[in-house]
């Protein structure tokens, strides 16, 4: 039982073990923070897929899938599918209402023609609409000047229906960052520029599309004025910055994907016009499908492959259907959202594993630190080892003191590290905002503390001892440096590391990866113990007679 007493006293009576604990804690925190942010990023990418596109996407770009309603009917009969919705996907130019004057800005946007009702069933569209009356819960934390406090229900309803109720016209819902007038605040909320003057739902925009002919050539551009009815905020910057939603039938019309007649110009009808020989049905470039609860996207995808083949076979035999759906593989793809984004997700997964491996080298740092510190402690405690041997302590008993010491440092370091990582990860957006706009008070505190440190250095150093002077100077310079960095950052407008245009999301993931946390903790403890083995063995081998004469 003397081990516990001695370990406790060796730990609490000197600074070195605290440095070891701090070093292990920093190593652990480093690994957990890096891997948590990367895991969080991957999770956000995956989750956003479901929010934005449902679980499985059947797509045939440009010319689209004909008779998609029949496909959707078949899909919705599947027990694995919850809902399906058609989408027309293309690119267009959006003439914005700003700036004042005749020359308006034009943005390139990805146009999504959607059927709002079924689209909301497949994706999280309803939740992404930004302008809406706040809930009771939101009101508690919402800033006083947040314009959403003044919102009425109609703006949300108009967004959901993609229709302007005042003018009874089809409306458009662009992403929140399409308009440069929307400023994102540090709390994540949006303030339209000029005190709400550029609040988009009170303006109109002009959308211009370039329809493509069946043969591949460009047709005449189509333009249409839309009232903005709401804006959506999915959190994925690349989407919020580029996409705009319009009603499906209008998008189909503007892109010439709507229903038309097929004529034979060689034959004339009774009126002398080319004879109508069939109907060219409306088309959708994508059908998004949501899996039923508990159904994996891969499972649903397999079912959809069969459904599509059956749908195509049915139409191939239908003599009334002049336009047949394309076979799979010929530009038509049926993929889960993750498969569709594989080129994007897989490199991130690989990078995360690489980071995990590289940062795992910090375990060796843990082991090295503990080894170096314990080696020094064993030297310092050589005489104690001799004394303990003289009163009957066994060699194993002596080594156990140091192993136990390593264990305690590993566990303490791991726990402190996890705590530190948790605090950093949970508050990572606040920390990042502070770096973007460093608070002045922090600089003042740093510089004031530096003055105190200088005063203490002068006071304690007046006898000429080097230790207080060195320590005091070190602390003073660090504090002055930190204060100066804050002032420089302030002067230059701060640093933005997490640039949403690079990292896709407007906020940094702030969920701690508990699996990594547990593994890192166990790793730190094991490697601290490994670091303690060598000094412990050395302690056990110490010759008690020499140890007693050791000075």
């Amino acid at each position: 039982m003397y081990h516990a007493l001695l370990t406790n006293r060796y730990l609490t009576s000197r600074v070195i073990p605290l440095i070891a604990v701090a070093a292990v804690a920093l190593c652990v925190a480093l690994v957990i923070i890096v891997v948590s942010v990367m895991t969080g990023f991957l999770n956000m990418v995956r989750d956003s897929g479901r929010t934005l596109m449902g679980d499985v996407v059947i797509s045939y770009p440009v010319t689209g899938i004909p008779h998609y309603e029949r496909l959707i009917d078949r899909i919705e009969e599947l027990p694995e599918a919850e809902a399906a919705t058609p989408v027309v996907d293309s690119w267009g130019l959006l003439k914005m209402p700003y700036p004042d004057g005749a020359n308006k800005d034009t943005e390139t946007v990805q146009i999504w023609g959607i059927d709002p009702e079924s689209f909301a069933k497949v994706t999280g569209y309803a939740d992404t609409l930004y302008w809406r009356p706040p809930t009771e819960q939101q009101l508690k934390t919402m800033a006083d000047d947040d314009p959403r406090r003044q919102m009425d229900e109609q703006v949300l309803l108009d967004g959901l229906a993609l229709r302007d109720s005042r003018s009874d016209r089809a409306g458009i819902v662009p992403g929140i960052h399409v308009s440069v007038g929307n400023d994102r605040q540090s709390d994540g909320s949006i303030r339209p520029a000029r005190n709400g003057y550029w609040w988009m739902p009170q303006w109109e925009v002009t959308l211009t599309t370039l329809p493509i002919a069946t043969g591949g050539g460009l047709l005449e551009p189509e333009s249409r004025i839309f009232p903005v009815v709401n804006e959506f905020f999915s959190g994925v910057f690349l989407i919020d910055d580029k996409r705009a939603m319009v009603p499906l039938e209008i998008a189909q019309r503007m892109l010439h994907l709507d229903q038309g007649e097929i004529v034979d110009e060689e034959q004339l009808d009774d009126d002398g016009l080319p004879k109508v020989i069939g109907v060219d049905p409306a088309k959708a470039t994508m059908v998004l499908v949501r899996a039923a609860d508990g159904v994996e996207p891969d499972e649903l995808r397999e079912q959809l492959v069969g459904v599509y083949d059956a749908f195509r076979a049915e139409l191939l035999q239908d003599n009334n259907a002049f336009v047949k759906p394309p076979p799979q593989g010929m530009g038509l793809s049926i993929k889960t959202w993750e498969q569709q984004q594989a080129d994007f997700i897989e490199p991130i997964e690989k990078e995360r594993e690489l980071m995990r491996t590289l940062f795992s080298l910090v375990y060796l740092v843990c082991a090295g630190l503990v080894l170096a510190i314990f080696w020094a402690i064993v030297y310092e405690k050589t005489r104690d080892i001799g004394i303990l041997r003289s009163i009957g302590a066994s060699r194993f008993g002596i080594s156990w003191i140091f192993l136990r010491y390593g264990l305690v440092i590993g566990i303490a370091g791991a726990l402190v590290g996890v705590g530190l990582a948790y605090l950093v990860v949970r508050n990572i957006n606040t920390i990042h905002s502070a770096m973007g706009d460093p608070p002045m008070w922090l600089a003042i505190i740093m510089l004031a503390l530096a003055l105190v440190a200088i005063a203490l250095t002068v006071y304690h150093g007046r006898r000429g001892a080097l230790m207080p002077i060195t320590l005091g100077l070190l602390v003073s310079i660090t504090l002055i440096g930190a204060g100066a960095v804050i002032l420089i950052l302030k002067d230059r407008g701060g640093v933005v590391i997490w640039d949403p245009s690079v990292y896709y999301f407007t906020t940094i993931p702030n969920e701690m990866d508990s699996g990594t946390a547990i593994f890192t903790m166990i790793g730190a403890v094991i490697f601290s113990l490994i670091g303690a083995f060598l000094p412990a063995a050395k302690a056990a081998d110490t010759d008690p007679v020499r140890a007693l004469h050791y000075e």
């Binding site: 001695l6 302590a393 060699r395």
Partner: protein, 222 residues
């Protein structure tokens, strides 16, 4: 017993056939000049070191230490003997009471700790009080005088009621008056029946022992 140390490439024989018998309850003083091997002899008796191969043996209660298991020898150092050193050798991080308790803690099994710790604390406190250190229980060694430290060291040596006290110049680092106090304490223990083997180079101290042996050139002479 024979004991040779190797210093670099040179063998230095320290003990060259020293033989010593100590009877139970006897106080033997080993007198000799510096470097004569007195401390080495004491270390061999206390199992801190071993004689050369074929260099004799230490027998305790008729049993050779060399024939004992490691565990039995740890127990021998813990229970049967008590060491007192010239430089006290207290653990600086522990207070007076903890230093005294240490041999008991070393010998105490984990399962018996909570059952016996109260009783052991009581014994250590009584020992220290009888040595006039009742007011110093929570003090660290650096807060004590040399005499007080040596009294703590003796209390520690006696904590497990050993049969033999091995004392290596116990007054060598103390002034005359303090040294006399420490010696009185040892005399008292001897009167209570403790066997003592004491190494000294001071004939005046050696005179108080039952028997004085001289260690000269690695051999014992009565």
């Amino acid at each position: 017993m024979h004991k040779t140390y190797r210093l670099g490439r040179v063998d230095v024989p320290v003990l060259k056939g020293a033989t010593l018998h100590v009877k139970p309850g006897e106080w033997v003083a080993i007198l000799g000049p510096s470097g004569s091997g007195k401390s080495t002899l004491l270390h061999l008796l206390g199992d801190l070191d071993q004689p050369d191969a074929d260099g004799g043996e230490v027998r305790f209660d008729g049993r050779s230490l060399a024939s004992m298991s490691r565990r039995a020898r740890n127990l021998y150092r813990n229970r049967s003997i008590g060491f007192v050193f010239q430089f006290y050798h207290l653990l600086p991080e522990l207070n007076v009471l903890e230093n005294t308790l240490l041999p008991a803690l070393v010998g105490l099994h984990r399962w018996n700790y909570y059952r016996r710790i109260g009783q052991l604390r009581k014994r250590a406190t009584q020992l220290l009080e009888s040595f006039g250190l009742g007011h110093r229980l929570k003090h660290r060694p650096r807060e004590l005088s040399g005499g007080e430290r040596q009294r703590v060291a003796i209390a520690r040596a006696l904590m497990n009621n050993p049969k033999v006290l091995l004392a290596d110049e116990p007054t060598g680092n103390l002034d005359e008056a303090t040294g006399a106090e420490i010696l009185d304490l040892i005399v008292q223990q001897h009167r209570d029946g403790l066997t003592i083997v004491m190494v000294t180079h001071d004939p005046a101290i050696a005179e108080r022992a039952d028997r004085v042996v001289h260690l000269h050139d690695g051999r014992i002479a009565e």
